[in-house]
């Protein structure tokens, strides 16, 4: 049964099959846990974040976006040894912001997607580190070059990933 969401007046709103709605985040979580073990360089990627952004900007529904981000983030936290909620809070906010942005502007072309993903990756890191330091007192390290490089890599991967996931979009 397809899940439908509210549509805007100016921009096109998409929905997804329930199999995609559940399967894509689950696959992203699985790959996030498996790939860095096989290829340590993939630890730089945050596939659950990219999936959160994609669903948020496609559905263009803030509530749907924040709930998707929150659930994905909580399950991502559950796989780490850290308290549950760090990624949850960060991805909730990113999901909300991405879907709110998606309502206002068209983010269908590659350039816009690259820029939006880059900005949201940095924003996600900032929120994550703020919560980790401010609430959980984790001694996480912040390095601007590393974070920017990581965000750029994620944004580039995100562009290709979004094009791949575009095939699963269903018009409302």
């Amino acid at each position: 049964m397809p899940i439908t969401y509210t549509s805007g007046e100016q921009v096109e709103v998409y929905r997804f099959n329930w199999l995609i709605t559940l399967g894509v985040p689950a696959t992203a979580l699985f790959l996030q846990a498996w790939l860095p073990h096989q290829f340590p360089v993939f630890a730089m990627l945050d596939l659950p974040l990219l999936v959160t952004i994609f669903f948020a900007i496609s559905r263009r529904n803030p509530i749907s976006g924040l709930l998707t981000g929150g659930v994905i983030g909580i399950f991502q936290d559950a796989l780490t040894g850290l308290p549950i909620g760090l990624n949850g809070i960060a991805k909730t906010l990113v999901g909300y912001a991405a879907s709110s942005l998606g309502v206002k502007i068209d983010v269908e072309n590659a350039g816009a997607r690259l820029l939006v993903t880059l900005v949201f990756c940095v924003a996600h890191k900032v929120i994550y580190f703020t919560v980790a330091r401010g609430m959980v007192s984790l001694s996480v390290q912040w390095s601007w070059p590393h974070e920017l490089w990581s965000a750029l890599v994620n944004a580039i991967v995100g562009v290709f990933l979004f094009y791949a996931l575009d095939r699963f979009k269903l018009r409302t």
């Binding site: 846990a33 340590p40 630890a43 909580i74 991502q76 040894g81 909620g85 609430m135 007192s137 390290q141």
Partner: protein, 410 residues
Amino acid sequence: MESVLGRYKNLIVLACVLVAQVLGLAVQVKRTTDTQSTRLIRIWAVSSITPFEKVLNWVHGGSWNLWHNYFYLRGVRAENRELKAEIERLRLEQVRLNEDAAQARRLQALLSFKEQFISQTLPAQVIGSGGSEQSRIVYIDKGQKDGLKADMAVITVDGIVGKVLKVFGSTSQVLLIDDQSSGVGAILEKSRLQGILRGTPSGEVVLERIMTDNAVQPGEEVRTSGGDRVFPKGLPVGTVTKVGNGADLFLSIRVRPAANLSKLEEVLVVTHLVEQEPTQLQSGPVRAADILAQRLPSVPDKPPADTAKPKPDAPVKEATHPAAPAPGKPSGSTAQSRAEATPNPRSDSITPVSPRTAGTTPSAVQPATAHRPTPPPVQVADPVNSTAPKTRPAPAPASATEPSTQNGPQ
């Protein structure tokens, strides 16, 4: 009122979700252990991910093994030669180390030390990671069903890896030593300085709590001190790579882990440790004559009557070792045999040909090392059926040269 709710519906939902998560975080920070709700979420997440990881690892490992074990055998002969040469070298070194170990055991017996032995390990395969740069954990394919518990040590043949953090049904979460929340009691091998090994946010491993007035050199080996009650004493940890001044009069010592933490495949979980006191026999008085007998070359054992006249072309080692070789050792030419047969060129030490190493009946003078404590039997749990572990006989004093890097006494 309704219009206000409708207008700010998105923000209200956002605020509710955020508040709920913040409250959840606050509860977790206050409590050191997982609450029921968070543990459930972890179990759901792990249970839904790890079966796929196991399957994928099985397929990946199978194809990799097929390629490397049956098709891609380039350089195997050269590697075999190198390994044989290394075995020869290690056997020679082992003869020397056996003497040092025997001496250490005698001293421990005199001081009524309790020795800690790894008596049982369980092999496990690393199937995945936590997927976060901030949390350095891995998942192994053994869990509660296999008898694993939290805080069990996880090692490889190269060195320590971490400890079991959380145990699930058929998987476990292992906290690596380079995680910032880990802490391992460690000791520098030469200077005997003790510190705490910790991970840093960037994934490096540092040795803390060593004062700046101590001299630590790069290249020094680091071993476990046993003070954390997780890892038994003496396991390899890593090598000092950089020494600098840290904060608060403490040195900043960077350590390169002995185990390759980024490419872990198989690990051993230490499921059982045994503390053993020296027996009465071991802790009995050591006669000066015994010590002297150990340091002097002993008389070779009398060969049996039928082999009293060795063949002229027979190698020397056969004449000095008429008895059957120790179990698990090849009966042919071993480097150890050569080492025992040939006096050490160094003037201050002569490689002993003792009845302990020869495995025959004791000669007239029984060296003190013959009374070395026998470690408890080492059990290697069957990776297929861990409930029925196989018992490997403990390395007998006569066959002390048998390699026991994985399960031997530490």
